[in-house]
């Protein structure tokens, strides 16, 4: 992964006529998670501005063709560093190859491009996210005194590899209980494009098919969780453990009101800061290898990729305040009038 030295900033930057180095960032979509548009973009922009580096941050809107077009355009416009969150490893690999041909340094952000050979990798561990969800579901079931439980899996998009990883992680975490027949998976369906409307219908049919005999819901993110909660509420069955992800305002509110049991908070700022630090260094022609403390193995090439790995954090009723304290959202956004009492109870000040 180090065939050409990641430091060709000056030469390729000169085509832009200016001296400022430039970083290109491609985010994957706007719909699998709100974070890309609302958090990552903001933090990265701030970091690049602070470092005096030009940046071009775009979103492929879930479309692999778009993804490549954007990459072409960034290479055309002469970026020195290309940072991508791939939509899938295949198209990601094609983009990385083109970038390398053009002598541009590359960073895999949040998702590892298998066989892509990026210079660096910065991420939360997606399998770990799933594990936290699984553990959280078990914890909440335990708290509710349910040793035997019927569990419904409301998974993310069938075409999203991360959704596959989340589900796999959760099932790993619950494996013991499932093997011991304490937990039964009574329903297990995916939700096309993470669409909340579709999730509602899918979950409603799970509920109908099982005659409501569901004790816990694995929902892959907060949006899906909310869709399930709406159906549970309609049937007067809300309050059973439901998992989530992303620590959205909606998810936090559902946790505070007791309808959702947990969410997974990925401190996007930390991830963005780590990635932007790497990118800035690369853009300025420095070697930031020292910042990359860890490494992961690319299972396709069996090569090591230098990596910065961050830990996701499970959020329960008591730890909602941590997310706010982290500056990821604000008290005003979360604590609406109806939730004021709960907020106090949860120690949010």
């Amino acid at each position: 992964s180090s065939d050409d030295s990641p430091g060709s900033g000056e030469s390729s930057g000169s085509t832009d006529g200016g001296a400022k180095p430039k970083v290109g960032v491609i985010l994957p979509d706007t719909k699998s998670s709100a974070r890309w548009e609302t958090a990552d973009k903001k933090y990265l922009t701030e970091a690049f501005e602070a470092a005096g580096v030009d940046s071009d941050i775009q979103n492929a809107q879930g479309d692999a063709t778009q993804f490549q077009t954007i990459a072409d355009q960034m290479i055309t416009s002469g970026v020195n560093v290309l940072m991508i969150v791939n939509l899938d490893s295949g198209s990601g690999k094609a983009v990385l190859a083109k970038a390398k041909q053009a002598g541009i340094a590359t960073i895999d952000y949040d998702r590892l491009t298998l066989g892509g050979g990026a210079d660096f990798y910065v991420s939360f561990d997606n399998n770990k996210v799933g594990q936290l969800q699984g553990e959280g579901l078990q914890k909440c079931l335990d708290d509710a005194g349910k040793t035997k439980a019927n569990i419904a899996f409301l998974n993310g998009s069938p075409t999203d590899n991360n959704a596959t990883l989340f589900t796999a992680g959760a099932k790993e975490a619950l494996k013991a209980k499932i093997d011991s027949k304490d937990y039964t998976i009574v329903a297990d369906q995916t939700v096309e494009k993470w669409d909340n409307q579709i999730a509602g219908t899918v979950f409603e049919q799970m509920y109908t098919d099982t005659s409501g005999k569901i004790d816990g819901v694995y929902a892959a993110n907060d949006g899906l969780a909310n869709a399930a909660i709406a159906i549970l509420k309609k049937n007067g069955a809300n309050g059973i453990p439901v998992t989530g992800q992303d620590a959205t305002d909606q998810g936090l509110q559902n946790i505070l009101s007791g309808d959702q049991c947990m969410t997974v908070y990925k401190a996007v700022k930390k991830e963005a800061d780590a990635a932007s630090a790497l990118a800035v260094a690369l853009a300025k022609g420095e070697d930031p290898s020292s910042q990359a403390t860890g490494s992961v193995t690319d299972t396709e090439t069996n090569k090591e990729v230098k990596a910065v790995l961050l830990d996701p954090q499970a959020i329960y009723f008591d730890s909602v305040k941590d997310v706010i304290a982290d500056g990821y959202t604000t008290k005003e956004n979360v604590c609406t009038a109806e939730l004021a009492a709960k907020c106090t109870e949860a120690g949010i000040s």
């Binding site: 409307q197 309609k234 049937n235 959205t248």
Partner: protein
């Protein structure tokens, strides 16, 4: 069945008012049978497809599919697509398409949610805002198509893209907007008290009976050809059985949760019924509705008849977008939130599919509100049934496609003879 050996002259009916020989009940029935055999079948094939589908799912999930709970689900799940489809009928009737109807519902839903949560408007204000946005969007689209002359496919494709951006910008940070307004949430999540369900059902049946009998008596009085009283009464009886039967089923206890009772007609049903009645009235009873069909049948002839064709076109787009706004409101109620996907995914394709399966033509001039209702039911049943079966996603897609094409084939094959006669 008893029309044998008439003298040839009687086959030439006189058109003069007052001199019409009214058919007997038996004749009316046998005429209908002959019409159906001849291929003029109205909604029958789509209904047949619906029945076949329902029976198939019933066979696979006997206790679940026809449970009161699932029947209520069916209406609540199908509401959004059906309402959009009802609006699309207007646009399809004039031979145009609105690819943006789905995302328009998203924009209007987002408007509703923002008005409720960010601006703290009361629900009626927020609903009004959503509807106004729908009307404005429709006016814009209609103007671009009817006055500027951009093909509707391109116009609404552009709108489809642009409105996705609008939804993103509206929802902005936070990704999802949850709503808590009880009135809005009630639409898709609450039911009428049983007595009110009965009352509304009875009113509906009586109104239908009154209108049918009044029209019949008027025609007889003028000496115009009209169906025999027996047929009218039989139709009223059928409507009464359908409506009151549905009320009876939905007024059963359907909760699977012992601590909480759920019964009554879901609120969304009378809402859809009222919308359908209004739209149906516009299409079949007003001059404007007549002009819509005329534009779809032969726009040039309509123009020559002195009708303002661009105005008709524009209003059709406005109606479509307004119905999308209603759908957006219903969708928000159902999810109790909006997300950036709102109205995206396959909503639009499903809605157009619903209208087409029901019998609406993409070439204009042919279609009815009932088409949207029946087609919406077909789509909802497929979605609902597939959800009960719980296949893996790949298999689910394949089976859904297969079921859809099978349902459409039932319809197509039973319409064969209609096509054999060439014109219909």
């Amino acid at each position: 069945m008893s029309t044998s050996t008439r003298p040839p002259e009687s086959a030439a009916p006189s058109l003069l008012a007052g001199s019409v020989e009214q058919p007997t009940f038996g004749e009316a029935v046998s005429n209908y049978v002959r019409k159906v055999r001849g291929g003029d079948m109205g909604s029958l094939p789509a209904i047949l497809a619906l029945v076949v589908l329902a029976l198939a799912f019933y066979a696979l999930r006997p206790e679940k599919f026809f449970s009161a709970l699932n029947i209520a689900n069916l209406f609540q799940q199908g509401a959004t697509v059906t309402v959009i489809a009802m609006g699309l009928v207007f646009v399809l009737l004039i031979g145009e398409i609105d690819l943006s109807a789905g995302v328009t519902s998203g924009v209007c839903g987002a408007t509703l949610a923002i008005a409720l949560t960010k601006w703290d408007w009361p629900w009626y204000g927020a609903v009004a805002a959503a509807l106004v946005v729908g009307v404005v969007i429709g006016t814009l689209l209609g103007t671009l198509v009817a006055r500027v002359g951009i093909p509707s496919f391109v116009t609404t494709l552009a709108a489809f893209l642009a409105f996705q951006g609008v939804v993103l910008l509206m929802i902005g940070t936070g990704g999802n907007i949850s709503i808590t307004d009880n009135v809005i949430i009630a639409i898709e999540n609450k039911n009428l008290p049983p007595w009110l369900g009965w009352a509304l059902g009875a009113v509906a049946v009586l109104a239908y009976a009154g209108a049918s009998l009044y029209g019949w008596s008027q025609r007889r009085a003028r000496g115009l050809l009209s169906a025999p009283l027996g047929v009218i009464i039989a139709k009223i009886a059928a409507v009464a059985i359908a409506v009151l039967g549905l009320v009876a089923v939905l007024n059963q206890e359907r909760s699977v949760n012992p601590v909480r009772s759920i019964m009554g007609v879901p609120i969304v049903i009378p809402l859809i019924a009222v919308l359908a009645l209004i739209l149906g009235f516009i299409l079949t009873r007003t001059a404007f509705g007549r002009h819509i069909y005329a534009v779809g049948g032969n726009a040039e002839a309509t123009r020559r008849a002195g009708i303002n064709v661009p105005a008709v076109r524009t209003v059709c787009f406005m109606i479509c977008s307004t119905m999308a706004a209603f759908a957006g409101i219903i969708a928000v109620s159902r999810a109790t939130s909006v997300d950036p996907n709102a109205g995206g995914s396959n909503v639009l394709l499903y809605a157009v599919g619903a209208a087409v399966i029901g019998g609406t033509s993409l070439f204009g001039g042919k279609g009815r509100i009932i088409d949207a209702l029946i087609g919406g039911a077909v789509i909802a049943v497929i979605d609902n049934g597939m959800g009960l079966l719980g296949y893996s996603s790949g298999v689910k897609y394949v089976v859904t496609g297969g079921v859809l094409v099978a349902a459409a084939a039932v319809d197509a094959i039973s319409r064969r003879r209609a096509r054999a006669t060439g014109r219909l």
